[in-house]
Point group: C2
Chain length 238, copies 2
DNA sequence: CCGGATCCTGGATGATACTG
DNA sequence: CAGTATCATCCAGGATCCGG
C-alpha cells in the first residue's frame, strides 16, 4: 500500500506502512468506538477530503485492518481483530498527545468518537477498581456520553444530545472541550465548577472528585507553550 | 509545524501533528536508544532524504521533543523528557507492526537501533523476573548487541560487530533478521537452530529457551500473507 | 568528513464537483 | 448514501552544492 517504502525490516516501519499515512489512524480511532458508515466517518473527521477517506478505507481494508460489511441500508466499516490490535498503540498516542493539548486550538471541534477514545485512554482501572460501580452522564454541546465504571472496567456509550438526565446515572453534568483540562489535571474538580467548565445537573457533586481520579492522564511535567530555540519545554532555564 | 492541520481538538490529533509526518517516529525511535548525531541518524535510516531529516529534526526540536546539544566535535540530538514520553506509544506500535513483519521484505536492512527497540518492545518483565540475571550476546552481520536481563529489567547496549564472545555473557549466538521469527513465535528455539537462524557460539544452548520466553511479541492470531477482497486476514474463509 | 541548505520533480494530499 | 472525477497545490524524494 504505502507506495513509498521506508525500506527497513522493522516492526515500527511495518506499522507505519500500514497506518502511518495521513488520516489513517484517525479513521482507526473512530472505528475503535464502534462500526461506522462512510458518512459517519466523514462527519467524525470533518476536514477529511472524501477521496482520501475513500482511499484510506480501501488501503486499510487491503491491509486487513478494516472490514466492509453490507448492511440493510448501505455499508458499515468495522475493525477486524487485527485492526483492533491497534488499540494499545492508539491509546498510548492519545495519552501522549493529550499532554500538549493546551497548546491546541480549543475552538477546533470535539467529536463524540474522539472524546470517547480520550476517556478510554485516560481511564485508570486501579483507581476505578477501588470504588463501587458508578455511572456518569456527560452532556456535551452536540452529543451526550454515558460512562459506566465498574470494577476496573469502563464502558462508553453515546447518548442523544438532548438526553434527559438518566435516572440510573450517579452524576450528570454538562461540559465541553474544557473537560480535557480536567482530565489532564490542569484544573481540579473545584476549579472546573468555578470556571463553569463543568456544570453539575444532578447527582452528588462530590462524585466529581471520584471522576477526576478515575479519568486522568499523567502529565510527566508541565509543558510551556512554545519552545525555546534549544527545544527545551517547561521552565525557560535560558 | 504540521502545516496541514487536522482541525480537531483531540489527543491523537495533537500527537499526529507533532510526530505524524513521515519519518518522524522513526527518528524518535532511534533517539530512544540513545543520543545520536546527524550522521548516525542518516545511517540508521538509510533511505531518508537528507533534507527531510534536517526538516524533521528542526520540527521535532521546535515541538520540544528533541534537543540539539553541541559536542566537542559537532552536534548531538537527544530526546527531551517530553520526547521520551513517546516510548510507550512507539513500543506499542512496534509490537503491533511486528505481527505483520513476515509479509515484509526480509532483504530490507535491519539496523542496530531498530532491533534494539524491537527487543525492548518484546521484553516480558514478568517472564524475566522469574529467572536469574542473564546476559545474552547477539552477533548480527553488521553489529553486535548485548542484552542484560535482570529482575524484570532490560538493558540493551551495542557492541562492535567483531566483538569476541564476552566472557560475562551466559549465551552468545550469531543471528540475523530471522531473529524476528523467533521473537514472534513463528519458529521456536529448536527450529531456529535447525534452520540456522540462530547459531550458538558459546554458553548453554538451553538458555535459548529462556531467551524465547523473555522476548516474545504476542501475536493475537496468525496473519496470512495478502488480504482477501473483504479484508479478512487468515484462513481464506472465501 | 560533518552538518546541513538548495533546487527540481513526481506523487500524495486537498477542495470541489459530480454520479450510481 | 457512498463514493468517483478532476484539478490545483504542496510536500516528500533525490541529487547536488556549500560552509566549517
Amino acid at each position: 500500500m504505502a507506495a513509498r517504502n521506508y525500506g527497513q525490516y522493522s516492526g515500527l516501519v511495518s506499522a507505519l506502512e500500514q497506518v502511518g499515512e495521513r488520516w489513517a489512524m484517525l479513521i482507526v480511532r473512530d472505528l475503535l468506538v464502534g462500526p461506522r458508515r462512510y458518512s459517519d466517518l466523514k462527519q467524525g473527521l470533518p476536514r477529511i477530503p472524501t477521496n482520501i477517506l475513500s482511499t484510506r478505507l480501501k488501503d486499510l481494508n487491503q491491509a486487513g485492518i478494516v472490514r466492509r460489511m453490507p448492511l440493510a441500508h448501505g455499508l458499515v466499516y468495522t475493525l477486524t481483530d487485527y485492526g483492533r490490535g491497534l488499540e494499545d498503540a492508539i491509546l498510548a498516542l492519545e495519552r501522549w498527545g493529550f499532554t500538549a493539548l493546551d497548546e491546541a486550538d480549543e475552538s477546533d471541534p470535539v467529536t463524540a468518537d474522539s472524546i470517547s477514545v480520550a476517556f478510554r485512554a485516560a481511564f485508570r482501572p486501579d483507581a476505578a477498581a477501588a470504588a463501587f460501580r458508578t455511572v456518569y452522564d456527560l452532556l456535551f454541546p452536540d452529543f451526550g456520553l454515558t460512562l459506566v465504571v465498574d470494577g476496573g472496567t469502563l464502558a462508553v456509550t453515546r447518548a442523544p444530545a438532548t438526553s434527559p438526565p438518566a435516572t440510573s446515572a450517579h452524576l450528570v453534568f454538562a461540559t465541553d472541550a474544557r473537560i480535557h483540562d480536567v482530565i489532564s489535571g490542569r484544573i481540579d474538580a473545584a476549579q472546573s465548577v468555578q470556571r463553569a467548565a463543568v456544570r453539575v445537573l444532578s447527582g452528588d457533586p462530590v462524585l466529581l472528585e471520584r471522576f477526576t481520579q478515575t479519568f486522568r492522564v499523567e502529565t510527566a511535567h508541565t509543558i510551556a507553550p512554545g519552545a525555546e530555540n534549544d527545544g527545551v519545554r517547561g521552565l525557560s532555564g535560558a
